[in-house]
């Protein structure tokens, strides 16, 4: 349990760093060029890791099911949705909703056991825990910050075109 939590926390820390680095890139390149760049880098890094740790098995893909090839498109859908969400609602509100949906669907996936997950029946502890976490997200995002934050995070292309 502890190891799993630690790995997940590590991933979260990296996501936070990556988000900030991507914002910096976004300012100079716009959101699609940034997305292309980020996924290209991620692909190269994964390929290198795969070659180091798996060697020749990297190209041993006979267990691929056709839809696996399209799963990368989910990531592109994520970018579109997040960019539009932030554009319409501003970062604070938009990100709060996104985080809520992430957790809600996590609970749903576990309880349904979809996509080969081990089925974890939903119980009151999980529901209450997730509700408290979501409450925490809203306190974190909205607590004492008000409007002032919305100006800080540039929403890339839109903001750039406004400045020109």
């Amino acid at each position: 349990m502890a190891l799993g939590l630690l790995l997940a926390a590590f991933a979260g820390a990296m996501v936070a760093l990556q988000t900030i680095f991507n914002n910096r890139t976004d300012v100079h390149m716009g959101s699609w060029a940034t997305t292309t760049w980020v996924l290209g880098m991620g692909f190269l890094a994964s390929l290198v890791c795969s070659l180091i740790f798996e060697g020749g098995r990297t190209f041993n893909l006979q267990h691929m099911q056709p839809w696996y090839w399209f799963s990368g498109l989910i990531g592109v859908g994520v970018v579109i949705c997040l960019v539009l969400g932030v554009k319409i609602l501003g970062p604070t509100f938009s990100v709060s909703i996104t985080l809520t949906a992430q957790l809600g669907f996590a609970l749903l996936f576990d309880s349904m056991g979809w996509l080969g997950l081990e089925k974890v029946p939903m119980n009151w502890k999980q529901l209450a825990g997730v509700a408290v976490i979501i409450g925490g997200i809203y306190v974190f995002k909205f607590g004492g910050k008000k409007k002032q934050e919305e100006v800080q995070q540039p929403s890339s292309a839109l903001k750039k075109s406004l400045q020109q």
Partner: protein
């Protein structure tokens, strides 16, 4: 407004779906391979969209600090650790721990003004929020 909520919501659902899908694919072809394949197809798709909308300039990378450009490479480690976590502790615990760490690090970066971020006021509400989130994980573990 409603459209914005819908986009933000679907985006969040897709982030979780992505983790679960990666975990499923890893089961069949290996985790590093899954990270390679999904980011490759994502890269191709994003490139096509970029060539179509031309909303920015891919050549602009020259103006970006190398450190920030390298951020994309984190994707490999993120996918690997997230998938391994999902396979060990399930999706709900994984996403919960991931979000807590994510907000903690964001909190620190913004509080100290690291990486050229404007120092923004991070105070009691943010700390209370984080404590509540950790409390939520403890409730789930009861």
């Amino acid at each position: 407004m409603f459209r914005g909520i819908l986009f933000a919501f679907i985006g969040g659902a897709c982030i979780t779906l992505q983790g679960v899908a990666n975990s499923r694919i890893s089961h069949d072809i290996g985790t590093w391979q899954a990270a390679t394949v999904t980011q490759f197809t994502g890269f191709i798709m994003a490139l096509l969209i970029y060539l179509f909308v031309r909303d920015g300039d891919l050549g602009g990378f020259r103006k970006v600090k190398p450190l920030y450009l390298a951020g994309g490479a984190f994707g490999a480690v993120i996918i690997y650790t997230e998938v391994t976590a999902i396979q060990t502790i399930g999706v709900t615990f994984t996403i919960s721990a991931l979000l807590i760490a994510q907000l903690c690090v964001t909190f620190m970066i913004d509080a100290f003004g690291w990486f050229g971020r404007t120092k923004s006021k991070m105070g009691a509400p943010q700390l209370i929020g984080l404590v509540m989130m950790i409390g939520g994980v403890l409730i789930m573990k009861l």
